[in-house]
């Protein structure tokens, strides 16, 4: 191969490399263009965005403060706790709540609820687990639970069933007891 031809080949290679670079730059520019339009709004917009971001960050921080409890036994995430609102307190039915809590406030009634957690039962089946009380006492406990809406009695078959509020109330009673036993640290 002559020296001239070698020179020519070298030039062509350099041109090709240059063209490739140009093509790459053009492609990059195209992609950048497709991503959006860049407009400079100046500092005021930037400040506004920063303010919003700071507000969001403060909100998240506040929520984390409310929902993460750090105690001597570690860290616990409290789920489902919304912010304590005064308007909720104004609409809270204290009388209804007292009735439900009062219905829970007896060992035998709690035992009845515990028994019903596994399914509906007839009064004689409930009586088997509560041999220390008479059927009439059991009946009056069931009436209290029914009146508070924690238990419902079928009118055709006569079985007693625990209601959704009854189940929640019983689980709440268990939770509170566990919490108290643990010295309020659960």
């Amino acid at each position: 191969m002559s020296e001239d031809l070698k020179q020519e080949m070298k030039k062509l290679k350099e041109e090709m490399a240059s063209l490739k670079d140009q093509l790459r730059d053009a492609g990059q520019e195209g992609r950048n263009k497709r991503r959006g339009i860049y407009i400079d709004f100046g500092n005021s917009v930037q400040d506004y965005v920063e303010d919003v971001m700071q507000g969001v960050a403060e909100g998240v921080h506040g929520e984390l403060d409310k929902s993460i409890f750090i105690g001597p036994r570690g860290c616990r995430i409290m789920r489902g706790h919304g912010p304590w609102r005064e308007e909720d307190e104004n609409t809270f039915d204290f009388n209804e709540a007292a009735k439900a809590m009062s219905a829970l406030g007896h060992e035998h009634r709690l035992k009845v609820l515990s028994s019903l957690m596994t399914g509906g039962k007839y009064i004689n089946e409930l009586q088997e687990g509560l041999s220390e009380i008479t059927t009439s006492t059991l009946s009056s406990h069931l009436n209290v639970l029914e009146e508070a809406g924690l238990v419902v009695q079928e009118k055709v078959r006569g079985r007693y069933l625990i209601t959704m509020p009854g189940r929640t109330a019983y689980q709440m009673a268990r939770k509170v007891t566990r919490f108290l036993k643990a010295g309020g640290e659960e």
């Binding site: 509906g120 419902v152 009695q153 079928e154 009118k155 055709v156 078959r157 069933l161 625990i162 209601t163 959704m164 509020p165 009854g166 189940r167 929640t168």
Partner: protein, 208 residues
């Protein structure tokens, strides 16, 4: 083809306390002395209209893994109500009513018949358009009870299947599958697993 329903003009009375239907979820009883008017469909006795003291119990309760929802319906029946279905067993305990029976209920033969025809017409107004032919061949029963808004609450029974509709609720039960539609929520339950959701605008089936 639409069937022709009519009230027979023979007024009967029950000579014993009768249980018109009874299952795990529903019970309907009438007292001895209940006035009874047979209802004919294509010249065959297909039901009755009753007037007297009766008691309807429906456990409109859905059992879910999160507790029971709903409540039992307990209703004293003192107004006329309609039953369509098997008439054989009931017919065995009916005898001709006397004038005294009518007087005790503050009715004459004419006024009672007119009231029974009104009830049947009201029922047919709703049911006649789409259900009569199907019902004629069905093995189940239909009950219609006038409610306070002068509409009809309906109870449909067929084997383990039950549908009860009132102005405020609809309860459907088929073995361990139930639906309870209340003004606030709808609960679906199948084999103990439940799916509660906010109440959409559902037709509750109550006769207008």
């Amino acid at each position: 083809m639409m069937q022709h329903y009519e009230v027979e003009d023979t007024i009967l009375r029950s000579n014993a306390e009768l249980t018109l239907t009874r299952s795990d979820k529903v019970s309907l009883e009438i007292k001895k002395g209940t006035l009874t008017l047979p209802v004919k469909v294509a010249d065959k006795r297909r039901g009755f209209i009753f007037l007297g003291e009766g008691k309807l119990l429906i456990d409109a309760i859905v059992e879910t893994e999160r507790g029971a929802v709903g409540k039992p319906v307990q209703r004293e029946l003192r107004e006329l109500f309609l039953m369509l279905g098997n008439t054989e067993e009931t017919s065995k305990h009916l005898e001709k009513a006397s004038d005294d029976d009518l007087r005790r209920n503050d009715f004459t033969e004419k006024t009672l018949l007119a009231k029974a025809q009104d009830l049947l017409a009201k029922f047919m107004g709703k049911e006649g358009a789409h259900g009569s032919e199907h019902f004629r061949q069905s093995e189940g029963s239909i009950f219609a009870f006038p409610n306070e808004e002068s509409n009809l609450d309906l109870l449909l029974l067929n084997g383990p299947r039950l549908i009860y509709t009132t102005k405020d609720m609809a309860f459907i039960c088929d073995g361990d599958k139930s639906v309870l539609n209340t003004p606030r929520q709808v609960f679906l339950s199948a084999q103990g697993t439940s799916l509660p959701f906010g109440r959409p605008h559902m037709h509750n089936g109550c006769c207008q």
